[in-house]
């Protein structure tokens, strides 16, 4: 199969969906001739014109709210918020409006819109352009939260997000945009709430999200050299969450490591840990370990930012700690 980047996979999903369905419009800052800050919307303006590819002023509450209104009335808007950090300026539109309309209206009316954004530190952009607070959205009933970990997931999940009738927070990862992987040319959908077992194993379960899926697979390779058999699960959507796949894995391995880039306190890793503690504690052979970002703002200074981030080595160390329990 041909290999394309995560960025191009997203672009292709948007393009294919837009060709198919005129109700899809894309709104965001610098998504037109600039092609989006990470080039995800590159070329779409030329192909679909300024009525459907709309560069907005810096008015996040205005255009996210407009997407809610448009979605309620027959359109299927896809909005881009340049960095997840900027969702805070339109949080009312996301939390009180986008997420709740279907419920508040007694099931009448729906909000088929996608809010694309991204997380991840590592670009020296400090505390307001590097955060990873995707867990927050999984906390809100009514939102779907997608977390693509590879080009294949990026295209399939975005296609599903656009075609799905629910409001979706589509959380991309900055460091993944340039990574390449096999992606089918034709359009395809990855269903929400279905985790993918990226690697089967019998000793340790790593539930990993976003870029940490790749790190977990690398750690699993290394662990295999020590005869440790690691299973890697990518939930793919944080909400709805495929609990069953995670719980059955724990029944098999008895050891859980959760790897997620949100802050440790009240983050997605805490949620997975709580579910396993509540529903599968008697299968556990070792305490649960969370590998998450420290509870600090993302620091600017390069050595500090480097220390803030983690990858294969930290996961590997956690795997060994888990294996210390018989």
């Amino acid at each position: 199969m041909r290999e394309i980047t995560y960025c191009d996979a997203l672009n292709e999903a948007l393009r294919q969906c837009m060709v198919e369905d005129e109700r899809i419009v894309v709104l965001g800052e610098d998504i037109g001739c600039y092609g989006g800050i990470f080039q995800v919307t590159k070329g779409l303006l030329d192909e679909f014109g300024p009525d459907r590819i709309v560069d907005t002023p810096i008015s996040e509450a205005g255009f996210i709210g407009a997407c809610v209104g448009a979605a309620l009335t027959g359109m299927r808007p896809v909005a881009e918020i340049m960095f997840i950090d900027f969702t805070t300026v339109c949080m009312d539109m996301i939390v009180n409006q986008m997420a709740k309309m279907h419920y508040m209206f007694g099931g009448k009316g729906c909000v088929p819109m996608v809010l694309r954004t991204n997380i991840g530190a590592g670009r020296g952009t400090a505390a307001q352009h590097s955060q990873s607070f995707h867990s927050f959205f999984a906390h809100i009933p009514g939102l779907v939260v997608a977390a693509p970990s590879s080009p294949y997931e990026a295209k399939g999940l975005l296609t599903e997000a656009i075609k799905n009738d629910n409001p979706v927070i589509f959380v991309e990862h900055k460091r993944l945009y340039t990574t390449k992987g096999p992606v089918p040319e034709e359009s395809y959908r990855i269903p929400f709430g279905k985790a993918e077992i990226k690697r089967e194993g019998a000793d340790v379960t790593i539930v990993a999200t976003h870029a940490l899926v790749g790190a977990a697979l690398e750690a699993a390779e290394e662990a295999a050299n020590d005869d440790i058999d690691v299973e890697v699960i990518d939930p793919r959507t944080l909400s709805p969450l495929d609990k069953e796949t995670i719980l059955s894995s724990i029944q098999k391995t008895g050891r859980l490591l959760v790897a997620d880039e949100d802050n440790k306190t009240c983050g997605f890793a805490a949620e997975i840990s709580a579910i396993v503690a509540e529903e599968a504690i008697f299968y556990l052979k070792a305490p649960i370990i969370r590998n998450a970002s420290p509870d600090t703002p993302v620091p600017f200074s390069p050595p500090l930012e480097k220390a803030y981030m983690f990858g294969k080595e930290v996961l590997m160390d956690s795997v060994r700690r888990l294996m210390a329990y018989a």
């Binding site: 002023p57 309620l72 359109m75």
Partner: protein
């Protein structure tokens, strides 16, 4: 753009329905039959009636926490509306929205809104949608004077003007954001003057004069449908009751009895009734018959709500997400 005789009678009916509906809520709320918060529209009826009279069923509105008037004027039935206020399963939102979230997609009502300023971006989105879909629909967006200090007001005005969206911004200026009067919120006298910043027409009308509201709205809707863009209409009016039922002494902490009484003398319905009689549009007897019919319809709605069942507890978990294959 003068309203016809039938339209004038229609305006009276709408205003009187809102008034009598809200007066009934005062009583029901006091007796504990209507739970939660009730923000009543008494005194402001001419705004909803005048604006919605120039809209079709296909047009959209976004409403506010003080939304009963808008919903009635846009045409939602009294039965499902009353049942919603009671939190009953037969309510227009199955009892899940309540007073601050009444919506009726069949009538283009995209929800009352519990967030001040929350409806503005949604309204421009609906208008944008109409433009994208080339349907000639218009969106009317109701909001209070103090919502115009919110960022969403400015963002929405700017986007609507920039893209010439078919939207009518209707500011219901009742002089107060809960307890804080306009002079303590902004130095400008007229919210309408903010339209200048967005290169759109901004007009001030007597919000207690339903014909004046109607005419301004008709002009704005015509402009919107012609693709010429949005208008900001500021309707100067007053709420007679407190911010919500339970606001002590109808807001005595922040306004005087004299002020309230002055505005009561400018009652939009009393004024309009006089006009209808003077212009021989209707006789006193005709209006009395209308009033009786409305009272009966409201009593029927109360009975409907009282007799309806509350939703089953399991329904709490329904309608959070659209299920796959669920028709919308």
């Amino acid at each position: 753009m003068d309203p016809t005789k039938d339209q004038l009678i229609g305006l009276y009916k709408t205003m009187q329905t809102i008034r009598l509906f809200e007066e009934r809520i005062v009583d029901l709320y006091a007796r504990g039959e209507v739970p939660g918060l009730a923000h009543l529209y008494i005194g402001e009826e001419a705004v909803a009636a005048g604006v919605c009279a120039v809209l079709t069923d296909e047009d959209y509105i976004t409403s506010t926490h003080r939304g009963h008037g808008h919903v009635i004027a846009k045409g939602t039935g009294l039965d499902p509306m009353m049942a919603e206020l009671f939190g009953k399963k037969t309510g227009c939102c199955k009892g899940k929205g309540g007073s601050m979230h009444i919506a009726d997609m069949d009538k283009g009502i995209l929800g009352a809104n519990g967030i001040a300023g929350g409806g503005l971006p949604i309204a421009i989105g609906a208008a944008w949608s109409a433009k994208w879909r080339k349907t000639n629909q218009v969106a009317a967006c109701f909001f209070g004077d103090d919502a115009s200090s919110n960022g969403t007001f400015h963002e929405s005005m700017n986007l609507a003007s920039l893209h010439k969206l078919p939207v009518v911004f209707v500011c219901e200026n009742n002089g107060y954001g809960i307890s804080v009067c306009q002079a303590k919120c902004t130095l400008i006298n007229d919210v309408a003057s903010r339209a200048v910043a967005y290169d759109m027409p901004g007009v001030v009308v007597d919000g207690n004069n339903v014909v004046e509201v109607y005419e301004a709205a008709a002009k704005a809707v015509k402009r919107a449908r012609a693709g010429e863009g949005p208008t900001l209409i500021e309707c100067k009016t007053y709420r007679w009751r407190g911010h919500h039922e339970g606001d002590p002494n109808q807001g005595a902490r922040y306004r005087t009895k004299e002020e309230i009484n002055t505005w009561k003398e400018k009652c939009p319905i009393k004024q309009f009734k006089k006009k209808l009689l003077k212009d021989r549009i209707a006789t006193k007897k005709q209006l009395e018959t209308i009033d009786k019919e409305i009272s009966q319809a409201i009593s029927d709605a109360v009975a409907f709500a009282q007799e309806s069942e509350f939703p089953a507890v399991e329904e709490m978990y329904e309608d959070i997400y659209v299920e796959l294959g669920e028709a919308q």
